[in-house]
């Protein structure tokens, strides 16, 4: 151990972004050295490390090349984890010079197979030898795009190494006019505001164009239905399409790359992916103001019967706009003559400080990363004998840490959101008649209107008999009733044999009502508090009596729970 410490400088050993044990092993799992279900078994981890180290040597790397030691027999060292991230990262850090040898399992065959698998072309068995089936999969991936894009298999393989870019290109080339459909019975997420409406249809029409086949099919299956229910046969056939599954895969990859989704890429838009999608869309919605009033309802719609549609074109367009590089000059650009430009402006300097602090953090990490990276770069170039084997320059370790990657993007989104708010304020000061200002004011009023609507719903619920019932769509007779007492004890009565859709509808109503209550009760609390202040000590008693009288009047009828006794 002392010998190792003498060989390798302490600062190199101290190097490394703080990542969890599972994160450290993630690429070992991705490359098929170890199955996830065996992660907790020490003997399997030892075998996995043995295989990796063997293949590391077979690939021509020496121990001293990476400037860091191997770990113990059952532990992956920071250096090894870092090395794996360099080779197997999905941000285009590593390019192949030649295809892996067929009939052999090697470090490079695993990376190639992992890329194929991640993008939905592989078999998932990354520990098996590289085969002609994998070469065919590469051809499939190449043919999938127009042939102008890739002329060799190596190009395809290297393009797949930058997953985000690959997905963006695939979307541009193939899915620009497509819609993602999925089926999901919501359990707790209220879907009222996402029911198919003009917001979604208008955004979809704008994104994919009225002449597109997908728009016409959507219109026929959803908008033009007389009975209000979607054409489930059509929706089911759309969900079964391989392209629909692949788009979901791409969405999961995009969500994963921004840190919103950490589960398996499985082409299933289930509750976990849905939640991640909502989070990501919400952030996009906040950060992207190219549209006057971007809205969750423009991205996603509940069509009924458990079916949903996702406007993936709108999603990818918004993501692409956010990924456009911006200079500092752009960030602080104000309209000429609006405000005198200024870093001294309090709100603008806040954003600048924010950017500077974040920049310092990046720089600090870059300096650490560069020390180790320089060694790895040299080794890789020597081994390949060519310049083409390379890692992309800036602070790769920082970028490849999934945690920091998600954090960075999140801060970028938040930063842009603030920037745009500040721009709006600047414009507000400078040009009262400007259209953006009017839109901004409209937005404020709309938000205030939404708040009032929720308040109204809550008030209506509180001062009614607090019964929530879901009716039969044909007979209009109530099938499910939840009766809340004044103290919010509840009795639910359910007719046996109801469909999941009816039950789901009822759950949605219950949760919406309770949420609107929160708004209204806080509001009432503030009003009473204010009245108490106004009334003064002499009026408190009278006011208290009045409040008790009001609540007593509300509490009419029989308390169902007590009646059971």
């Amino acid at each position: 151990m002392e010998e190792l410490e003498a060989l390798f400088p302490a600062e190199a050993l101290d190097y490394a972004v703080q990542i969890s044990a599972e994160n450290q092993w993630q690429f070992m799992l991705d490359l098929g050295y170890l199955a996830k279900e065996n992660f907790s078994r020490e003997e399997d981890r030892v075998k996995a490390l043995h295989d990796f180290r063997k293949e590391y040597h077979e690939a021509g790397f020496k121990l001293h090349h990476i400037g860091l030691p191997f770990g113990l027999n059952h532990q992956l060292s920071e250096g090894e984890a870092h090395f794996l991230r360099k080779l197997a990262g999905i941000e285009g850090q590593f390019n192949f010079e030649k295809l892996p040898e067929t009939g052999r399992t090697s470090l490079f065959s695993r990376i190639a197979k992992m890329r194929l698998d991640l993008l939905g072309f592989g078999s998932g068995a990354n520990d098996l030898p590289f085969s002609f089936a994998d070469i065919k999969a590469l051809d499939d991936a190449g043919n999938w795009f127009s042939k102008k894009k890739f002329s060799t298999r190596i190009e395809v393989l290297n393009a797949m190494g930058d997953t985000g870019d690959f997905v963006q290109r695939a979307w541009e080339e193939l899915y620009r006019q497509d819609i993602v459909y999925f089926k999901l019975i919501p359990t707790v997420q209220p879907i009222d505001e996402l029911e198919q409406g003009k917001h979604f249809s208008r955004a979809l029409w704008k994104s994919i164009g009225e002449d597109s086949k997908t728009w016409k099919a959507y219109k026929k299956a959803v908008l033009d239905r007389n009975d209000g229910d979607p054409d489930t046969k059509f929706l089911q056939s759309q969900i079964a399409r391989p392209d629909n599954s692949r788009m979901i895969r791409f969405i999961q990859l995009m969500l994963q790359s921004c840190g919103a989704y950490t589960e398996e890429i499985d082409e299933d838009l289930g509750p976990v992916t849905y939640d991640a999608l909502i989070d990501a869309v919400y952030l996009l919605d906040k950060a992207d103001d190219d549209d006057d009033d971007p809205d969750l309802r423009e991205y996603i719609a509940y069509l009924g019967q458990g079916y949903w549609a996702f406007n993936q074109a709108f999603f990818f367009e918004a993501a692409a706009r956010l990924n456009k590089p911006e200079t500092d000059a752009d960030l602080f650009k104000l309209k000429a003559g609006v405000v005198s430009s200024e870093p001294e402006d309090e709100e603008m300097s806040f954003y600048k400080r924010f950017s500077e602090e974040f920049g310092k953090l990046q720089q600090k990490d870059k300096e650490k990363a560069d020390k180790v990276q320089a060694g790895i770069l040299n080794v890789a170039k020597k081994l390949a004998g060519k310049e083409e084997v390379h890692f992309m320059g800036f602070a790769d370790s920082f970028r490849s840490s999934r945690f920091f990657k998600g954090l960075k993007r999140f801060f970028r989104l938040v930063g842009r959101f603030f920037k745009r708010i500040f721009n709006k304020l600047a414009e507000f000061i400078g040009e009262m008649k400007d259209r953006n200002v009017l839109n901004f004011v409209q937005l404020i009023f709309r938000k205030a209107g939404d708040a009032l609507r929720v308040l109204g719903e809550g008030l209506r619920f509180l001062f009614s008999d607090r019964k929530i019932y879901t009716k039969d769509s044909e007979t209009k007779a109530p099938l499910v009733i939840t009766d809340f007492t004044m103290t919010f004890d509840a009795v639910t009565t359910v007719q046996a044999g109801l469909s999941p859709e009816v039950l789901s509808e009822h759950m949605k109503h219950c949760l919406r009502s309770s949420r609107s209550l929160e708004t209204v009760l806080v509001f009432i609390g503030k009003v009473i508090h204010f009245l108490l202040l106004l009334a003064g000590p002499a009026g408190w008693f009278k006011l208290a009596l009045e409040i008790i009288r009001i609540f007593r009047d509300i509490k009419k009828g029989v308390d169902p729970v007590r009646t059971v006794k």
Binding site: D483, A490, C510, S514, R515, G525, V564
Partner: protein, 112 residues
């Protein structure tokens, strides 16, 4: 006589407080709920009495004390359709807890 009245009043206050600090959520189901729910074109009547719920089944009951001690009754075994109804019970319980929480916040808003 006066003492009796005071006792009765205190008993009511006691019950009221107990009811306010605990939370009960009950879910009933059944094929024939005519006794529980009556409905005509304009009016919905909903009453739970010993007689009306004779044909109903108690599917689940959640009782939560002020210190969050919770008693949960679930009928067993549950059929597939009843599992769906259990989700409704859970949603009702969640809604009740949220509403009660909001109520407490309101009280806090008034007194602070």
């Amino acid at each position: 006589m006066a003492n009796e009245k005071i006792k009765e009043w205190l008993q009511k206050v006691n019950e009221g407080i107990k009811d306010a600090v605990t939370l009960d959520v009950t879910t009933l189901t059944g094929d024939d709920l005519k006794g529980v729910i009556t409905f005509d074109e304009t009016t919905l009547r909903f009453s739970i009495t010993k007689d009306s719920i004779q044909k109903a089944t108690l599917l689940a009951h959640t009782h939560i004390e002020i210190d969050q001690d919770t008693l949960l009754f679930i009928k067993s075994p549950l059929s597939e359709s009843e599992k769906g109804i259990l989700d409704v019970h859970n949603a009702a319980a969640k809604a009740a807890i949220e509403a009660r929480h909001a109520f407490v916040k309101m009280i806090a808003e008034i007194v602070t």
